[in-house]
Amino acid sequence: MAEASIRVSDLAAAHGLRDEDLLRMYRLVALARAIDERMWVLNRAGKAAFVISGQGHEGAQVGIVSSLRPGRDWLVPYYRSIAGVLTFGMTPRDILMAQFARAADPSSGGRQMPGHYGSAEHNILTTSSPVATQLLHAVGIALAAKTLGRDQVALTELGEGSSNQGDFHEGLNFAGVHRLPVVFVVENNGYAISVPMSLQSPIPDLADRAAAYGFPGVVVDGSDVLACYRAGREALERARRGEGPTLIEAKVTRLTAHSSDDQQTKYRSAEELQAERERDPLPRFRRQLRDAGVLDEPREAEIAADVKAAVDDATDWAESQPEPDPATAYRHVFAEPDPAIGPEAAGGAGVRAATPAEGV
């Protein structure tokens, strides 16, 4: 795709981007979708016990995370962040290794359920299951950045249901008091498993809650990748200018059941599910890029083939990787002695923990 690098369509120009950037974003949305679909195939084939999906959320994640700077900023994801972590540097192999719970899975070495991504290499914080806890970690990362005078922003994603947890309130409040460089992204897909928004929140737009903490809240259509891009870029620039946090609420759709353990037809009508399909960011983005002359049929086919190859490669490779060795299951409860320092390290005296971002 080298030749694309010099093309700047009107659509790209309007966003201060080159066509190649738009195509990269399109490829990421398509890639995340393809990986996701593969996971369900594996699930039905009995090869993946559990799947939790990002289908419908990819546009928001790719759009927003695209402005996060790899190797500098931090991404604090949640279980639907497949597209987000791909955008920020993880690979299809990384995702599939988590899905197959392989020893070399960078997220957890097969210790966590699929969907709990993390990569020390890429400043992607390890994910846990209790929802909304990560929001405070993002706030802490931003606090450290500010205290240490580092030019870093932390961006965290969570579901709208999770934003009702107390940690949300405590985190936004502290970030607001100290105007920390942190961006909160609520991906509102209308449901917390089966519980609809009407039972989760008395107000329709959770972005309005930002006013309670003295910083802007923005509602963005999560099926519009470039609207998300603009919202993300603006929020990140605000943070970098030292103006503090932003709350972005991306209205997205959950195209799958909550997870492979869920049957959403029990609580969502066929009509509703059909209507939601209209909000799929992938075809919409494809149409938009076609209309703008950024994407043509050959290029689309090329990307599709490329994505398929990447997913096939990741699947085959991950499946062929060894399982974790039970002999390692006792490891990493605590830091292990650094051979360079000697065994006292474990005792704690005189040791400084190496943190992933120490070089920044």
Binding site: L148, V351, T355
Partner: protein, 327 residues
């Protein structure tokens, strides 16, 4: 060596560590201008300023959760929970997050934080300002739990805790703050985590304790010495990792053991001690492992007479020692 109170020793170690380690920050409710409700952090704000000594909103989950994130990004946070009783809102962040970040990431992330919390009764603090909370946290793999009893240990262990790459819960008995004094070297010494100390040698009965109870145990040992009972006292200092070697080697010699803790008896930390000892030193035991612990009611009541009723005192320990000696 200067003589310092328990509180001064902790304050001194915090200050000296902040001077050494530019990444260390202290945060919590009232830790700044006021210097903490017990004045443990008094003076730090004046010396290190509001960026490194942070008066936070009244939100314990945030205090710990933000500390975790800050640690991941290079700070060495030392959050204070104003009273150990108020650590409960942060339970999820401590147990589900801090304690597991390393394990769940297969060792690729760590969390270097030391959570300080004043605990314990006998200070007229009633149900919610008197609790012992160690049993909740010593059960959690991935956490270290430290409970010093002397000024020397407090400063030395606190330095080790702050430098430890993993999360440490550092419990300070409120009653010791001003009532206990001891020599504290000026230099940058440490006391390693995970090592118990034999604070009194004896041959007939081992008494194991920590925190305020480590002092009561010594007092009780003195009291029964008059009756010719020779008691060895172990101050655990670190509850997790537990220095079981020191415990077992003593109990294997004495053959009898009293475990003392201030917390409610049922399911308290001493239960684990007792279970471990009976598992690994059964053949050496000449009598049951007795526990002297708080009654099983929800924490310490306020009225003086009720508080006295609740608290384990040297007399109760001495009585158990005598009972066991006669066994």
């Amino acid at each position: 060596m200067a003589v310092r109170t328990f509180l001064e020793a902790i304050r001194g170690a915090l200050a000296s560590e902040m001077r050494l380690d530019q990444c260390m920050v202290v945060l919590g409710e009232d830790v700044g201008v006021k210097g903490g409700v017990f004045l443990v952090t008094d003076g730090l704000f004046a010396e290190f300023g509001p960026e490194r000594v942070i008066d936070t909103p009244l939100t314990e989950s945030m205090i710990v959760g933000a500390s975790i994130g800050a640690a991941v990004n290079g700070l060495h946070p030392v959050p204070e929970i104003q009273f150990a009783d108020f650590i409960m809102p942060a339970f999820n962040q401590i147990v589900s997050e801090a304690a597991r970040i390393r394990y769940r990431s297969n060792g690729t992330f760590g969390c270097q934080i030391t959570i300080r919390a004043p605990y314990g009764g006998g200070v007229h603090g009633a149900l919610y300002h008197s609790q012992s909370i160690e049993a909740f946290f010593t059960h959690v793999p991935g956490l270290k739990v430290v409970v010093p009893s002397t000024p020397y240990d407090a400063a030395g262990l606190l330095r080790s805790a702050i430098r430890d790459p993993d999360p440490v819960l550092f419990l300070e008995h409120k009653k010791l703050y001003r009532s206990v004094r001891g020599e504290v070297p000026a230099g940058d010494y440490t006391v390693p985590l995970g090592q118990a100390q034999v604070t009194r040698s004896g041959t007939q009965i081992t008494v194991i304790a920590y925190g305020l109870m480590a002092h009561h145990a010594l007092e009780a040992a003195e009291a029964v010495a008059a009756d010719g009972i020779s008691v060895e006292v172990i101050d655990l200092r670190t509850l997790r990792p537990l220095d079981l070697d020191t415990v077992l080697s003593s109990v294997r010699r004495t053959g009898k053991c009293v475990v003392v803790y201030e917390d409610n008896k049922f399911g308290g930390y001493g239960a684990e001690l007792s279970a471990s000892i009976s598992e690994q030193a059964f053949d050496f035991l000449d009598g049951p492992i007795l526990r002297v612990a708080g009654p099983d009611v929800p924490a310490v009541p306020y009225a003086h007479v009720l508080e006295d009723w609740f608290m384990v005192d040297p007399g109760a320990i001495a009585a158990a020692i005598r009972r066991l000696a006669a066994y």
